[in-house]
């Protein structure tokens, strides 16, 4: 075993001692299996195709401490990251531990469950264990395995059949960083939507500027028949943090899901989204917007797996890269032999604001059915100088023209996100983060 893996084994053992009483034997066995799998796989290297452009050596070579509960839930200002609009519930987690005092839950929720996953694991064991770890398999990914072994807590959201939530549920994971002893946390989210239900779920990840910590999250989403979900993942970690995130979605017949990923922070970021269209007539939309400056790296890997016939998928990912930042996009679409009449469309674009920024992008289509419609398009480029001139000829100065064009580029993705407060919030963050990149280019 590599020395760097040893620390995770030690962390696992102390975490298990802390929690042993609360979990079922099945749960404990899953954690142990996941740890063994992680120790077997180790951290990925760039020799693996899935990680070719993204070296996780900065994570593997450091040590991170698992945050203990209570000790670290000190005074944390979560105000800037709170949801700006009315929400049905806002669940706040500090370094991966549920902070009930910072959380709110509207009385209107009725039979909807929205709360701590750790609590649900003991209170509703069979309900939770039906799905937990079964949507996101840990045998193939070391990070999913590590999360499964180590997660302390997270959100459990259960929307019963025929329930329509008017307002979104916000799940906010805030890291404190840990200062001299950098912290790791492994938040877990499980969302289960019953048949004919409808909800909007927003996951946010944030931390204090300058803090170096490691967040490794896994989200599992199960959609019943005809369920409708609007899902957001807003990543605004510290610019020095490491963020690895995996979202697994599984839809039954006629279920519709849109998953929007906005990735703004982090020194090294990897987002995996896997959507399995497992029932006839289902639909899925994946929208992504990422921004990186400095020497940061953002890697988005998406997989849309068309298992059953008559499903549609739409995907658009856009990235804005300044300075010496790097972006990676890999979009895989699988059309299984039974998935006739599949209609899949993928677009990915990257805007490079400097000569030194770069992006590696690759669509991957694996089509095993013959009556399908699949298209993909990719484009990487600088700002269109003709467009800059067009705006200048209308009286706007060069930097204003560039700013408008960058926002237009992002707006094309943002405008597809139904929640207005997300759009406005992201616009503001973009404006702040891009200010220096624009000044440098002007």
């Amino acid at each position: 075993m590599a020395p760097s893996l040893e620390q995770y084994k030690t962390e696992f053992e102390s975490a298990q001692r802390r929690r042993r009483t609360a979990e079922s034997a099945q749960q404990t066995r899953m954690r142990e299996d996941a740890l063994s799998r992680f120790l077997e796989l180790g951290f990925p290297t760039t020799r693996q195709e899935e990680w070719r452009f993204t070296s996780v050596a900065p994570i593997a070579s450091q040590s991170f401490t698992l945050a203990a509960p209570a000790v670290d839930a000190g005074p944390v200002d979560v105000t800037p990251f709170r949801f700006r609009d009315v929400c049905a519930a806002e669940l706040v987690f500090v370094d991966g531990h549920f902070a009930p005092a910072l959380s709110t839950r509207s009385a209107l929720l009725g039979c909807v469950r929205a709360g701590s996953l750790a609590a649900a694991v003991s209170a509703h064991a069979s309900e939770v264990e039906t799905h937990l770890g079964r949507v996101a398999p840990f045998d193939r990914s070391p990070f999913v395995a590590l999360n499964t072994a180590l997660f302390a807590d997270g959100a459990y959201l259960h929307i019963p059949a025929h329930t329509v939530l008017e307002h979104p549920i916000h799940v906010l994971f805030v890291s404190t960083g840990g200062g001299a002893a950098p912290l790791q946390s492994h938040p877990r989210v499980l969302a289960v939507l019953g048949d004919n239900s409808q909800a909007s779920i927003v996951e946010s990840y944030a931390g204090p500027g300058g803090a170096r910590y490691f967040t490794n999250v896994v989200t599992e989403i199960v959609l019943g028949q005809n369920a409708v979900l609007d899902h957001y993942k807003l990543q605004q970690e510290s610019a020095d943090a490491f963020h690895i995130g995996t979202v697994y979605l599984k839809g039954a017949r006629s279920a519709t899901c849109a998953s929007h990923s906005v990735s703004l922070g982090g020194a090294l970021v990897r987002n995996d989204v896997v959507a399995v269209l497992g029932g006839e007539g289902g639909g899925c939309t994946l929208n992504g917007l990422y921004l990186a400056d400095g020497q940061r790296l953002v890697d988005n890997h998406t997989t849309i797996d068309h298992v059953m016939p008559h499903c549609g998928s739409r995907e658009i990912y856009k990235g804005i890269l300044a300075d010496r930042a790097r972006g990676v996009f890999n979009g895989k679409i699988i059309v299984r032999p039974d998935a006739q009449k599949t209609d899949a469309k993928q677009t990915n674009r990257a805007l490079l604001l400097s000569e030194d920024a770069q992006v590696n992008s690759k669509p991957e289509l694996e089509i095993f059915a013959n009556d399908v419609k699949c298209t993909h398009g990719a484009a990487v480029g600088q700002l269109d100088e003709d467009a800059v001139f067009y705006l200048r000829s209308r009286g706007l100065d060069r930097s204003e023209a560039r700013r408008l064009l960058i926002h237009a580029f992002a707006g094309d993705v943002l405008n597809r996100m139904p929640l207005e407060s997300i759009r406005i919030g992201v616009e503001e963050i973009l404006q702040r983060q891009l200010a220096h990149a624009l000044d440098a280019a002007a």
């Binding site: 467009a387 706007l396 023209a401 405008n415």
Partner: protein
């Protein structure tokens, strides 16, 4: 109001304008005609300050100021407007937002109050009506998915909103059907006044049936080879450009 003296310009190392002289008074409409590749559109773009074109010789005075010394945005703020031959599509940028930003920037530089949302909408609705433009258009991204005719109409609409001193129309008529052409021409004619000047660049005489010019210039091979009244346009329509091969200063 516009004086062009011995203007030479090149793009990608190739000389396109080879000594243009032109003088336009307030309130006049001048037409520039010429065959493909004669430099008509280059002249329009050089006047607007397109960065791809390099001026190698000559000068341009706009209201007595050195135009060539100004950035494109300064020219626009000084009152010059170019209606593009190929307007640029900008997905994600809302038409109304863009136009309001442009108009208010210009107003600010003219020392006028910026318009608030209500005042802006009132002005814009009136101009849209004149140009028979649907209101839904305001919430669409700039030029994205517009037909050729809609793009050209949008240019004239923008011009009607910002009310420049000099409007340069770069082949605004090409690709328009006769109905759209009349709408565009009516829009321009409604703006004609003793203070406002137009330079109409066109390949065909047709537009000049609706926008009657005071002076017609013929451009071939980067030089103005003939200037005359509106009859010159008709003569060109009749005889083509071939008979003007010998440069004659007009």
């Amino acid at each position: 109001m516009l004086k062009v003296r011995n203007l030479h310009a090149r793009v990608a190392g190739r000389e396109i304008l080879r000594g243009i002289d032109l003088s336009i008074q307030h309130g006049e409409v001048h037409a520039i005609m010429g065959p493909n590749g004669s430099g008509k559109s280059t002249l329009a773009r050089v006047l607007a300050g397109h960065p791809e074109y390099e001026v190698t010789e000559g000068e341009v005075l706009f209201e007595g100021e050195d135009l060539l010394d100004m950035d494109p945005e300064e020219r626009a703020r000084a009152g010059l407007f170019l209606a593009f031959q190929y307007p640029v599509e900008i997905p994600g940028l809302n038409n109304a937002y863009f136009l309001k930003a442009a108009l208010n920037t210009m107003r600010k530089h003219r020392g006028e109050e910026e318009l608030d949302a209500m005042e802006f909408m009132t002005l814009v609705r009136e101009r849209m009506k004149q140009l028979d433009i649907d209101e839904a258009f305001l919430n669409r991204p700039v030029n994205e998915g517009f037909s050729g005719g809609e793009k050209k109409r949008n240019e004239i609409f923008q011009m009607a909103v910002v009310e420049p001193k000099l409007g340069i129309l770069d082949e605004t008529d090409s690709g328009l059907d006769i109905d759209a052409l009349k709408i565009v021409a009516n829009g321009v004619n409604a703006m004609r006044s003793a203070e406002r000047t137009f330079l109409v660049v066109t390949h065909y005489q047709r537009l000049l049936n609706y926008i009657i010019p005071d002076v017609v210039h013929v451009l071939t091979d980067g030089r103005i080879v003939r200037s005359g009244g509106k009859e010159l346009a008709l003569e060109l329509e009749d005889k083509g450009y071939g008979w003007l091969e010998e440069p004659v200063r007009g």
